[in-house]
């Protein structure tokens, strides 16, 4: 209750300040038009927040945000029907080669830029006192396809005899793709006998109501349900790391923190309302991303400036294509 009552006034204050600052800044010509956004449910809060404040100052621009998952979002972004194509795609993973191929076939050029960092939280029931951290190897043993680990005493010798029940996002989720890739080693490779739901809320309820539970989902959902869940530290060989916003920003919470992206088609950028929306986002990126109701980790100013330049100079294509590597800043430099 205390945490919540603290969040609300801060949220209201920041929103009002943000709305006030930005209205002051751009009381000029009112634009008219449409900006359609669809994609990852993880990234949606960022674009929804941006849309909300943007529309306060540009009421005649109609911004719509849909949630169809990263893959579903790219399907709409790369639709064969021009009038059904979205302008901006929310993505919690970089575009796949197959999606790039489709874009090329349809003649769609896109600009890619990172907008925030998200961590995946591995959580247990708050009354589970024996499990403080898990190694990547232990997580892999639990989650790999065909795994028969069904009791905590199989996870690590010394853990008590307690049935282990697993919760995780469904297979359409970008969080699922990311977790399986980092933990199991192969994207979408996971055991299937766990409680799967696209609704993070159902996962929170399941884990909070089950003493032997273990689950994972976006860190921001943990932030909103801190009281009902307990975080597990992740040991990637360099000792256990229990994530927090600062730790995720610092880049030591590996391998379970990830960048989030927006993709915008070069055709859409030419439209003034889309350009204005993106400019608005970059002008206020830090405040939007770290708004208490959005709760992601903002990127460095350097990376936001790089994103802005990619838009200005219409630098299209992905930095995650074949033959490219390095961490976030290196890729975009």
């Amino acid at each position: 209750m205390n945490a919540k009552s603290a969040v609300r006034p801060t949220a209201v204050l920041i929103t009002l300040v943000l709305a006030w600052c930005t209205t002051e800044a751009s009381a000029e010509a009112k634009l008219k038009g449409k900006v359609s956004i669809d994609g990852s449910s993880t990234v949606a809060p960022i674009t929804m927040a941006a849309a909300e404040i943007f529309q306060a100052q540009q009421p005649r621009v109609r911004v719509t945000v849909g949630i169809s998952g990263t893959g579903g979002g790219f399907k709409k972004f790369l639709s064969d029907r021009k009038n059904l194509r979205t302008d901006i795609s929310d993505a919690s993973r970089p575009i796949k080669n197959s999606e790039m191929k489709r874009a090329a076939e349809l003649g769609i050029n896109f600009i890619e830029f990172p907008v925030a960092i998200d961590g995946i939280a591995v959580v247990i029931h708050p009354e589970n006192h024996f499990c403080k951290s898990l190694t990547v190897e232990e997580l892999k043993n639990i989650w790999k396809p065909g795994s028969t680990v069904n009791n905590w005493n199989q996870v690590r010798p010394g853990f008590p005899d307690l049935p282990l029940r697993l919760y995780g996002p469904g297979t359409d989720s970008g969080t699922f793709d990311y977790f399986t890739k980092e933990i199991v080693g192969e994207e979408k490779a996971s055991r299937s006998d766990y409680t799967a739901s696209e609704s993070d809320n159902i996962l929170v309820q399941g884990i909070a109501g089950d003493k032997g539970s273990l689950g994972y989902f976006g860190f921001s959902y943990f932030q909103a349900n801190k009281k009902r869940l307990k975080l597990v530290g992740i040991d990637n060989g360099a000792g256990p790391v229990i994530p927090s916003l600062d730790i995720i920003r610092g880049g030591t919470y590996k391998p379970l923190s990830r960048p989030l992206f927006l993709y915008v088609s070069t055709d859409a950028v030419e439209r003034p309302e889309v350009k204005a929306f993106l400019d608005f986002f970059f002008d206020n990126a830090k405040m939007i991303v770290e708004h208490p109701r959005v709760n992601y980790v903002a990127l460095s100013d350097e990376l936001y400036n790089i994103g802005r330049k990619r838009i200005e100079n219409r630098i299209s294509g992905s930095e995650y294509g074949p033959g490219k590597s390095g961490d976030l800043t290196d890729r975009y430099k």
Binding site: K4, M48, V65, S68
Partner: protein, 309 residues
């Protein structure tokens, strides 16, 4: 012989001493069974009412504090949920229901009148009737897939109010047709025969006598069907409903939000305040539904008073 005697004696004895005796055998037992049945029915009714009451209590308990004029006139807000409203969803739903009504009512009643009054009663019309009855039981998501293919893509309507309304019309047409047919069927044959006897044509008979007499039943059917349309989320999700819309459609080609989708979107948010907003939106949806029903009840009462017999 022996047996016949016994029976007749019994019969005579009973009728002599007490005229009710022949109805008396095991009367207490029969009455007891009757009572058990009545109690059972009352319990079953009670369960239904209790579940509904619990549901309503929970919804009002969670949502009532958010009900205000602001809730109806403000757009949804993720950043400041305290100031959220359902304006876009309410207008979207009203748009959807209006266009759905405009499309489905004439088509539905027309089809029912044709099938009941004009079509020859043969195998084909029986086949059509069976199929319509089956269509009424098809899951709504299937209509969503049909709407996506037919209206959103093939007819190039996009994810517009019109595409949504046409999809919902398809969904409720079978219900309207079946209810209207039943209502027409309920009009006594004698009415038609009397009209024919006076030289009225079939069209005159249908227009002046049969349809007015069947109207209360038809209206009930339409309202039930529209009530179903107003609460449907699945077909709208299928044709590509959005999660965040903060404007009101200007025309049938605009994108939209609907109350069931808004409720679904809010239910999916982690912060508990959104569950309260969802409950408040459910109250709004119930209010819209009840006022539609009230209009129908009034219309029906008015029509019945006008009825000549």
């Amino acid at each position: 012989m022996m047996r016949e005697n016994t029976i007749s004696t019994e019969y005579r004895d009973a009728s002599d001493s007490n005229p009710d005796a022949m109805y008396n055998p095991r009367l207490d037992r029969r009455r007891f069974i009757g009572k058990i049945f009545a109690v059972f029915c009352a319990c079953v009714t009670g369960i239904g009412v209790a579940v509904l009451a619990a549901l309503l209590y929970r919804i009002f308990d969670e949502g009532w504090i958010y009900i205000s004029t602001n809730f109806l006139t403000k757009f949804p807000s993720m950043l400041m949920p305290e100031t959220s409203g359902v304006k876009s969803a309410l207008y979207g739903t009203l748009w959807l229901v209006s266009i759905t009504a405009i499309v489905s009512i004439p088509v539905g009643i027309g089809a029912a009148i044709y099938l009941e009054e004009f079509a020859p009663k043969n195998r084909l019309s029986r086949f059509i009737h069976t199929n319509i009855a089956n269509l009424a039981g098809v899951p709504s998501i299937v209509y969503g897939i049909l709407g996506l293919a037919m209206f959103v893509r093939w007819s190039n309507l996009g994810r517009s109010v019109l595409a949504g309304s046409l999809t919902l019309s398809l969904l409720i047409l079978p219900v309207i047709i079946i209810a209207s047919r039943e209502a027409l069927l309920g009009v006594p044959k004698t009415i038609r025969l009397a009209a024919f006897a006076l030289g009225a044509t079939r069209w005159q008979t249908v227009r002046a006598h049969v349809v007015p007499a069947a109207l209360p039943g038809i209206i009930t059917g339409i309202i039930l069907a529209l009530s179903r349309a107003i609460g449907e989320a699945a077909p709208l999700v299928m044709i590509g409903a959005l999660s965040y819309v903060a404007f009101v459609p200007d025309g049938p080609m605009d994108e939209f939000m609907a109350l069931p989708i808004q409720i679904y979107t809010w239910c999916d948010q982690p912060d508990p305040i959104f569950q309260h907003l969802a409950a408040a939106a459910i109250i709004v949806l119930l209010a819209v539904l009840l006022s539609m029903n009230a209009v129908a009840v009034a219309l029906r009462a008015w029509q019945q008073r006008k009825s000549p017999w």
